[in-house]
């Protein structure tokens, strides 16, 4: 694994082709059999939970949800290359990375439902709440990474943004600051082809999104986002160099979301064809990696089935835990406004507390 990340934002890294054959052994990451199986386990688990979440949203049992099917390799191959001490700044779609980085699933569900406890990240879990304001996570990542640098900690800040998000001023500002200060940050651009309905070609005249890093003076590359090994390998190199003090870098994963933008009324038939959807299904990250593992005798139907069962059970248990979590009160929300409540809020709190008490 040498210089590829350094200079060529137009280079496209693929390790496995769509049939699971190794195309580029130079970049093959050094993963144990168990680590390879773990990657598959996470992807299958996440596909099942995503399908359940979509259904639960339709039934009104979850609230805000942005489907992830199609993006498992991009999301989980990258997260798997980080350490638990590394700090994740996710966007609204990056719930799987948050959960695999340590956020309890029931809290992800409470977040979806619009409950404050969804954002109360447990101590020791290095994850921020999902970012709604597109681009804000990029500038903040640079700040988190600077903190690690100032404290001489061997930790990395990593973040995700979509193709559309790379049009924001905050995106350019954040990667530029990261380059200027040479902080340990990794920026992952998940190019799933559309920002809600807007295709990448309407976002920019840039040849690739990875090439946006050139002007910030930070290395970048494009990877096949449907190939979990390619995503892992590229992210690992980025994370390692950041940890060693060699500065920030950016990875663009080429991927696709199979479902609607979110479950709040988006209709993909307004902006993309069935043909396009089918074309992407052929590149499916799970199918490809399963073939690779099966050929090595590392994955079987039994593994698949037990993972599916495990995911279903985990979702039901998390849901039950979310259901039984206490309701919020307005007085309770007021309590979270300041370390010490100012007098006017004490008065307001009393108004609501007396009502809510009755």
């Amino acid at each position: 694994m040498s210089a590829v990340l350094e200079t060529k934002p137009t280079q496209f890294l693929q390790i496995l082709d769509i049939d699971g054959n190794v195309k580029n052994s130079d970049w093959m990451p050094k993963l144990s059999d168990q680590e390879l199986r773990n990657l598959m386990h996470k992807m299958v688990f996440t596909r099942i939970w995503d399908g359940r979440a979509v259904k639960l949203t339709r039934q009104g049992r979850l609230g805000f949800y942005a489907p992830v099917a199609g993006q498992e390799a991009s999301m989980l191959g990258s997260e798997a290359a980080t350490n638990k001490e590394d700090f994740l700044l996710p966007s609204y779609r990056d719930i799987p990375q948050s959960v695999w980085h340590g956020l309890p699933l029931y809290q992800a569900f409470l977040y979806s439902r619009g409950h404050q406890h969804g954002g109360q990240i447990p101590e020791g879990v290095n994850v921020l709440m999902p970012q709604i304001i597109i681009g804000a996570q990029i500038v903040q990542t640079t700040g988190v990474a600077m903190a690690f640098k100032l404290r001489h900690e061997k930790r990395v800040a990593f973040t995700y943004i979509g193709d559309g998000g790379t049009s924001q001023g905050d995106f350019y500002e954040g990667i530029n600051f990261a380059g200027a200060y040479q902080v340990p940050a990794v920026f992952i651009v998940q190019n799933n082809q559309f920002a809600i309905s807007v295709p990448v070609r309407l976002q920019t005249a840039a040849q690739t999104l990875a090439s946006k890093a050139v002007a910030a003076g930070i290395p970048s590359m494009q990877v096949d986002g449907m190939d979990v090994l390619a995503v892992y390998a590229a992210t690992k190199q980025s994370v390692d160099r950041a940890r060693e003090g060699a500065g920030p870098s950016l990875i663009e994963t080429i991927t696709f979301r199979y479902g609607p933008h979110t479950m709040s009324g988006d209709d993909p038939t307004r902006y993309r064809t069935k043909d396009m959807e089918q074309e992407w299904q052929l590149k499916d990250p799970l199918v490809r990696f399963r073939k690779f593992l099966e050929a090595k005798g590392l994955w079987s139907d039994r593994d698949e089935e037990s993972t599916i069962e495990e995911a279903k059970t985990a979702v039901s248990e998390a849901l039950a835990k979310a259901d039984s979590y206490p309701k919020m009160t307005v007085a309770g929300l007021i309590d979270q406004m300041f370390e010490k409540l100012p007098d006017d809020l004490i008065v307001q709190r009393a108004e609501y507390a007396s009502e809510e008490g009755r």
Binding site: I133, G164, S167, K327, T329, L333, M337
Partner: protein, 326 residues
């Protein structure tokens, strides 16, 4: 006359103005091909072409800045901010740039831009979609701010906003988009900016409000009239900047009591401004202090507790009782 929802009335206003004046342009995130996340611009790109109705890259400062540039070149841009909570991204272009253009150039340049944005609670969106940030806009000299409460007003006010030669922020309450229909004339008509509307006459208390809270106020007033035989006059501001203090003051001079109802948090903002202006114009007619009925001073709440946080009819009636007893 057709019966339509507020979103249909808005689409029709945009359609009519695009047809009437080729200087009108419409752009924003997802407004073209897909017709907007609420379908407010549905069919307009097909009808007027992608030179006049188009999708932008995802960047609010870019959208608002594009509007400033086009505006000072004589176009009439209608820029959509997909949700009002994202306006912070565009604040320099709106408050720092467009709203000052006329003043800075001593009238040489103007910015006849309309910014449209959905906002408002009760629909359980993720954070920073529903926030009532209108107080921030109201404190921007050079910017007009319009908030319709029904389909008929939305159409007439939007057409006025588009034809206005200064920047106008047009806020569309999400809960009103499809919650009820109203008769709306097919043809273009205008409702003057800066004129409030007395939507219900009454003699005992004046309720000043705007947006979705107009319905809450009217319902509370009706319940109150039935149960207590006391009548409240309801004023729909329609435009929160400039404020029609004349209509408010003449009502207060008649009723001698007032409450101001808003969905936004209590401190500063529209309600505080109305209270100040009533004090300036009608202080000696008041028989009780003016009461604000608002949300508490927290960040806009999580979806699961929106309904408790937003002012309710019960809360309004409690407020009315309170000013009546003082």
């Amino acid at each position: 006359m057709a019966v339509m929802t507020m979103i249909q009335a808005i689409t029709q206003a945009l359609d009519l103005e695009l047809a009437r004046d080729e200087k009108v342009l419409l752009f924003g995130e997802d407004v073209g091909q897909s017709g907007g996340v609420f379908r407010a611009t549905d069919g307009l790109q097909k009808k007027y072409g992608d030179q006049r109705v188009f999708d932008t890259p995802l960047a609010e400062s870019g959208i608002a800045g594009l509007a400033t540039g086009l505006g000072l070149q004589g176009f009439r841009p209608i820029a959509e901010i997909q949700f009002f909570g994202f306006v912070f991204e565009a604040m320099d272009e709106i408050a720092g740039q467009a709203a000052r253009m006329r003043y800075r150039s001593g009238g040489r340049y103007t910015c006849p831009v309309v910014y449209r944005a959905p906002f408002g609670g009760g629909v359980k969106t993720p954070e920073l979609h529903a926030d009532s940030l209108e107080g921030i806009l109201m404190q921007t000299p050079g910017l007009k701010v319009v908030i319709p409460s029904n389909p008929y007003d939305a159409k007439g006010l939007l057409i006025s906003a588009i034809r206005d030669n200064d920047p106008v922020f047009f806020l569309e309450h999400m809960k009103l988009y499809r919650s009820f229909k109203q008769e709306v004339p097919e043809e273009a008509y205008t409702i003057p900016l800066g004129k409030a509307n007395v939507v219900r006459e009454g003699k005992d208390v004046t309720i000043v409000t705007y947006g979705a809270m107009v319905n809450t106020a009217v319902q509370a007033a009706e319940t109150w009239a039935k149960t207590r035989g006391i009548t409240a006059e309801v004023i729909d501001l329609r435009t929160i900047s400039p404020i029609d203090i004349e209509t408010i003051a003449s009502s207060v001079k008649k009723t001698h009591r007032a409450v101001v109802l808003q969905e936004a948090q209590r401190t500063s903002g529209v309600a505080a401004e109305i209270v100040a202006q009533i004090n300036e114009q009608a202080m000696f007619y008041l028989e009780a202090p003016i009461l604000r009925i608002t949300a508490p001073d927290t960040v806009f709440p999580y979806a699961q507790i929106e309904d408790e946080w937003l002012p309710t009819q019960t809360r309004v009636i409690e407020g009315l009782e309170k000013v009546l007893s003082m």
